[in-house]
């Protein structure tokens, strides 16, 4: 970790980092025990980039997204780390009251009160989800709801968060808003027009008509667009998109990805894109982090990760995708299952070692992030960055044979699957083809 921090400070001197996440740990305290969903995670997001986080279920990618958005709810908790947001105005506003939260132009969001964080939602940070239904109230028209979003953002930004007194004001006001607003009289004509503009911006044909329709009258793709419009209402700096196209058909997915890319280009917004789909990453992102068992195991530019990857997990992921263009051959899956994130079962070793074809004695110490060949951003949490695989140091077969593993490999439901860890006996890897491919 310290290595990483030193690296990152020497790098990226010209690109401004809008978000600096250091040592973030998010844990869930469940009946089965403590689940380490995200462990000691570092992230540097540059202003205006599209940063991708890719991983399978249980990798912690969605929990990372929710941690950024301050959406972790009990039994979950951010137990450690900093989430620093670069905003000189905010830094000035909170410097006197919370000096420990401020570092130059950066404010550690975990060190300011919840209502300050809340005031950033929508205007500084926004999020879109896999399932747009969750973002809309079925009994109000889409236009009304967008107008509300606009209204809330207007009021929030009209109220500078400069003093404590005003922050308290805001809390009261937002309470009032949330109880009173679902009624169209409180939505001004101006907000309504802005809502229609937003619908137009996200490519909804004839937004004037559509604004008066209810969510159920929208198709899946249109509602996804409307949700994007809602997220854009407050002109956020950072958009966190959690599996934004996973529930969509492929032709609609292409439309939505196009739309996000267009909006990003026009507004210069920063996007953190969370997905299990490496194709979506390749289409959209500038840089990418691959997550496994709550950590980023490999990160860098697209070239670093797709062409010059070092981590055997990255290799395994890419080898598992059936090729759309090539001829048929045998896939090269990763043997075994997603690991347990139960604290009591996580050993202090490389978390991938039990599935890794290259596991050696060296891997029994938890590896730090090493610099790897390629761009300056390329880092890998794997000993192979430092030394070649040596047969003589390989762990004997069946070394991890008796460990317990969880049942969780659905990616459809981040809330449930990432916490729902049920131990079970290890499965004998049925597929032996994974072992001889490097």
């Amino acid at each position: 970790m310290t290595e990483t921090e030193m690296d990152t400070t020497t790098r990226n001197t010209n690109a401004e980092e809008i978000l600096r996440v250091s040592g973030l740990s998010t844990r869930f305290f469940t009946q089965e025990g403590q689940v380490n969903a995200v462990s000691d995670l570092d992230l540097r997001i540059e202003r205006g980039e599209v940063f991708g986080i890719v991983g399978e279920s249980g990798s912690g990618k969605s929990v990372t997204a929710r941690s950024l958005m301050d959406l972790i709810e009990p039994p979950g908790e951010i137990t450690e780390g900093k989430i620093e947001y670069n905003d000189p105005d905010l830094a000035d506003a909170v410097r006197d009251d919370y000096p420990q939260a401020v570092d130059g132009e950066y404010v550690d969001l975990l060190e300011v009160p919840a209502d300050v964080r809340e005031s950033l939602r929508g205007t500084s940070f926004s999020m879109i989800f896999q399932d747009p239904e969750s973002s809309f109230n079925p009994t109000l028209t889409v236009g009304e709801q967008l107008a509300e979003a606009v209204e809330v953002q207007r009021r929030a930004s009209a109220r500078p968060r400069s003093t404590r007194a005003k922050t308290q004001d805001y809390t009261l006001a937002s309470f009032a808003l949330s109880t009173v607003l679902p009624s169209r009289e409180y939505v001004s004509e101006e907000s309504r027009e802005r809502a229609i503009e937003l619908l137009e911006m996200v490519g909804i044909p004839d937004p004037v008509e559509r604004a008066d329709e209810y969510p159920h009258e929208y198709s899946g793709g249109m509602l996804q667009r409307a949700m994007i419009a809602q997220a854009l209402a407050g002109e956020p700096d950072v958009l966190v998109a959690d599996e934004p196209t996973t529930a969509l058909d492929v032709t609609i997915q292409a439309q939505i990805l196009d739309l996000l890319a267009e909006i990003q280009e026009e507004t210069g917004m920063t996007i953190v894109l969370i997905t299990h789909n490496l194709g979506v990453i390749a289409r959209m992102c500038d840089r990418v982090g691959v997550m496994y068992a709550g950590e980023i195991v490999e990160r860098g530019t697209l070239e670093d990760v797709f062409d010059d990857h070092v981590h055997p997990y990255t290799e395994g992921l890419l080898g598992s995708i059936p090729d759309l263009e090539g001829a048929r051959g045998r896939l090269q899956p990763i043997p075994g299952n997603v690991p347990s994130l139960l604290d009591s079962e996580m050993e202090d070793r490389c978390y991938f070692a039990d599935r890794c074809p290259n596991a050696m004695e060296d891997c029994l110490d938890h590896p730090p992030e090493y610099d790897a060949d390629g761009s300056a951003d390329h880092e890998v949490r794997c000993v192979l960055a430092e030394r070649d695989y040596e047969e003589s140091r390989a762990l004997p077969e069946g070394y991890f044979g008796e460990t317990e593993r969880p049942a969780a490999d659905k990616h459809a439901d981040p809330d449930r699957t990432e916490e729902d860890v049920q131990p079970e006996r290890a499965e004998q890897p049925v597929d032996d083809s994974g072992g001889d491919r490097l």
Binding site: V250, T251, G279, A282, D323, L324, L331, N337, K410
Partner: protein, 469 residues
């Protein structure tokens, strides 16, 4: 996933349907239709009380040869899963015929039906959604053996052990419950259960859609091995084009209840003919660094409702290649725009009252005052069109929109229809191997069977009233 046998049948002559080589397909589907009737409140409102047919599957025909894997690919709501269920007789068809091993599946009863149920099995995306969660996996795999009264109790237990081992689970897990397993393991259990009665034919309905990609790869390899080992014939239903390409010998593409193209997998992926297949393939983001430089033309709009499918070619409301009238000089993109406009006017999907800023136009008795008409038309055109059209077409549009100034929807639609009616809306193109294709670049790949349902390939049938069979 091809065995030698399927290679031989997959590359059959263009005449495959008539069994030129004398070999009968294992499964033959002819004109299969499955309609659902619905009358829910929203529909009620729109259409009164009449029950509405949802044409989930609307006349599909295909063959599956022994030992091959046929892929059925399409987006949600295209009818691919309903096709799978109906051909297994898990649903009653509205119309059409399915032959299995030469017998009409819908005529079977008694022991013949039982035999069919043994020979044709299905693997669903979530194999346990319909099973009792209190059953152990041993019971689950053994249940079909019990139902069909196969062998002695000891033999059945032995069979269950073999099956579980074969799909990669350990026998000491027999007494565990489904919820104790990961998604990948559950799918292995589902496969073991489907294999219990030693079937010939498996319908795999999105078997890996809920799985992570690393686990999906394990299951796909397993399915591949099992096919070879047990001489299985597969119908793979999936929305995932990469999976389809990886596994299938031949592929059928569905759109809105119909098959629009069928062909050998390599052919279809390398040389997709139907504009929908082309768009579908283009839309898939590739996991490669070259992806960002790949230009893709995304399809506009959504899939129309199967309650009221478009006339003619069902893809015409989104097709970037929709065919203009023969005597019309027009750019393709302009024509597409005009067709979209017409579609909206025909559906009366434009709110005239809100044209212009802040109630600029008074709408009295459905009409804009005479003096405002031309401003109204300009404002409306602005709102409805994304492109500037050439003067000639612009004039037609203005004429149509002028009708809307008096809410004369029919006249507006008629104005556009008279000028821009496409063959794609008049006739539903049949699924056939293009005759004119014989002379084109593909005649090198000898004897291929790759029919497509699109007027672009049917010049001859359009001019000749009686198409040559």
């Amino acid at each position: 996933m091809s065995s030698d046998l399927s290679d031989a049948t997959g590359a059959e002559t263009a005449d495959a349907a008539s069994d030129a080589d004398g070999e009968q397909p294992l499964v033959r589907v002819e004109g299969l239709e499955k309609y659902f009737w619905e009358n829910d409140s929203l529909i009620d409102r729109l259409l009164g009380d009449e029950p509405v047919a949802v044409r989930a599957v609307d006349g599909v025909s295909f063959d599956i040869h022994e030992g091959e894997t046929l892929g059925l690919v399409g987006e949600s709501g295209c009818g691919k899963s309903t096709t799978g269920e109906t051909l297994l007789r898990l649903q009653e068809p509205t119309n059409g015929r399915v032959e299995f091993d030469g017998e009409n599946v819908y005529d079977l009863d008694g022991s013949e039906l039982t035999d069919f149920r043994r020979s044709a099995q299905v693997v669903f995306q979530d194999p346990f959604s319909s099973l009792d969660p209190r059953m152990t996996i041993g019971d689950i795999v053994q249940q079909p053996l019990d139902v069909h009264d196969v062998g002695t109790e000891a033999e059945r237990e032995e069979r269950v052990r073999d099956l579980l081992e074969r799909v990669g689970l350990s026998v000491d897990q027999l007494d565990r419950f489904p919820h104790e397993f990961s998604g990948g393991q559950r799918q292995r259990i589902g496969i073991a259960r489907a294999l219990a009665l030693d079937p010939e034919f498996l319908v795999l309905d999105e078997p890996t859609s809920a799985l992570d990609v690393s686990v999906q790869a394990q299951v796909l390899n397993l399915l591949d091995d099992l096919q070879t080992e047990f001489d299985l014939t597969y119908l793979l239903i999936s929305h995932d084009l990469s999976v389809i390409r990886h596994i299938c010998d031949r592929v059928a593409v569905m759109y809105l209840g119909e098959i629009v193209e069928v062909g050998p997998a390599d052919d279809l992926f390398e040389d997709p003919r139907h504009p929908y297949t082309q768009a579908l393939l283009e839309s898939v983001p590739r996991a490669s660094t070259a992806e960002q430089d790949r230009d893709i033309e995304t399809l506009s709009g959504d899939v129309p409702s199967p309650r009221d499918p478009p006339s003619g070619c069902r893809f015409r409301t989104r097709c970037p290649k929709v065919i203009p009238p023969a005597d019309l000089e027009i750019e393709q993109a302009d024509f597409r725009e005009l067709m979209d406009l017409r579609e909206r006017i025909e559906r009366r999907d434009v709110s005239l009252e809100t044209v212009g800023e802040d109630g600029r136009f008074e709408f009295e008795d459905g009409s804009v005052p005479e003096r405002d008409v031309s401003a109204f038309v300009t404002a409306l055109k602005d709102r409805l069109l994304d492109r500037d059209l050439p003067a000639e077409h612009d004039a037609v549009v203005e004429e149509a929109l002028t009708e809307l100034a008096t809410s004369n929807w029919d006249a507006a639609a008629e104005t556009l229809r008279a000028e821009y009616q496409s063959v794609c809306e008049r006739e539903n193109p049949p699924l056939e191997t293009p005759a004119s294709w014989a002379g084109a670049d593909v005649d090198s790949s000898e004897g291929e069977d790759h029919p497509v349902a699109c007027h672009l390939y049917a010049e001859s049938t359009r001019s000749a009233p009686e198409p040559d069979p």
